[in-house]
Symmetry: C2
Amino acid sequence: MSFLELERSLGYKFRNSNLLELALTHRSNGSPHNERLEFLGDSVLNFAITIFLFEKYSDVDEGGLSRLRASLVQQNSLATIASELNLSRYLKLGEGELKSGGCNRPSILADCLEAIFGAIFKDSSFNEVKIVIEKQFVKLLNNLDLKTMCKDAKSLLQELLQSRKISLPRYLIVNINGAAHNQRFEIECVISELNIKTKSVGDTRRAAEQSAAKMAIDIITSSNSNYLDFNLYNYKSIKA
Amino acid sequence: MSFLELERSLGYKFRNSNLLELALTHRSNGSPHNERLEFLGDSVLNFAITIFLFEKYSDVDEGGLSRLRASLVQQNSLATIASELNLSRYLKLGEGELKSGGCNRPSILADCLEAIFGAIFKDSSFNEVKIVIEKQFVKLLNNLDLKTMCKDAKSLLQELLQSRKISLPRYLIVNINGAAHNQRFEIECVISELNIKTKSVGDTRRAAEQSAAKMAIDIITSSNSNYLDFNLYNYKSIKA
């Protein structure tokens, strides 16, 4: 198969086209497959996007930067770029995956795109793959919703719950320790309807509330994320 | 304060020592602080370790590589390196943190070390910071327990449970879909004692079991991890 068109869309010509072929080979096709390249490419992508955001948004704090990055490297964004590159035409899948429509499955497309970034890095250098990544992400980078992304955790949690018609969280002071000049606030964030309670400690009430809200967001979004693409019936904290 | 000794231990001399000072400044000390550099440094570190592992362990699969990386970049490993560098002597903390022993808190030390890696990257180049990182991690890199790390998920889960004297998981076939040549197995991994059930789908029974086992490991280890450094009383899957 000729990769001419794909390389043109990527804006990168492989020195060693075996690397590109490997990046396009799903594990269902047998060994060798693209998962090691995906491991590499995931980190390449994360680093390239991190540098871009760090340099461009010098007035956005680390929480905002994290949210911006998460929105860019999530599976849906990657699958969209993969579709624009027509990756499904080039994928090498096993018979089972092929028949069950694997070539259009977002997770397979997203993983394959990461593997391609890994392959380009291995074929050239970080500087070269960074240029390719920025070219592929240019639309997403230009459409970043800074206003939403850079909101603080309490505001975000509130909006998240309102959008699902869930009652707002309550923040309870569980404990205040220390002398007057050195207090530590222990705050609980309670979302009764979802049976979620998170607890955090901070030097100020506000800091502890923000941190507890962030934990609640992490729980809500991760249980909906594709990462946890399964039914989690029960989950109990087990302390070693 | 002179950073001469710290720079000697790091094996790196800053061109702009303000960057090092910023990396050592905790948010409790007010703005500006090290959290943006930490965001950058976390990604720098992840990338440097990823490249190292990818190149060195060419016969280890992506699951093994992920576990190796996780063991290296975890808070405890970072805090150990930070202690060896005597970072607590250089930290700039707010009064509250200082009095409550913040300069020896593992999370503060680990974050600060990441911020230093971010600062070195900004002060020089990825190649230079990669050398610094490999020097600091050399002991950990030489002591990697490949035998444990590269085990498959079912074996790891079994050992994890045995070490805590918890009954072994059961793997139940919940469903088999598709024609004979194209079956999809839906498997549930049940750990009754911990009230954990995970579910996964795969082309083979073995693949689905491995994937369900991995989810169970993620749940068990994340609920013990420092990342979730709080009491999670209840956690329910909420599907959007």
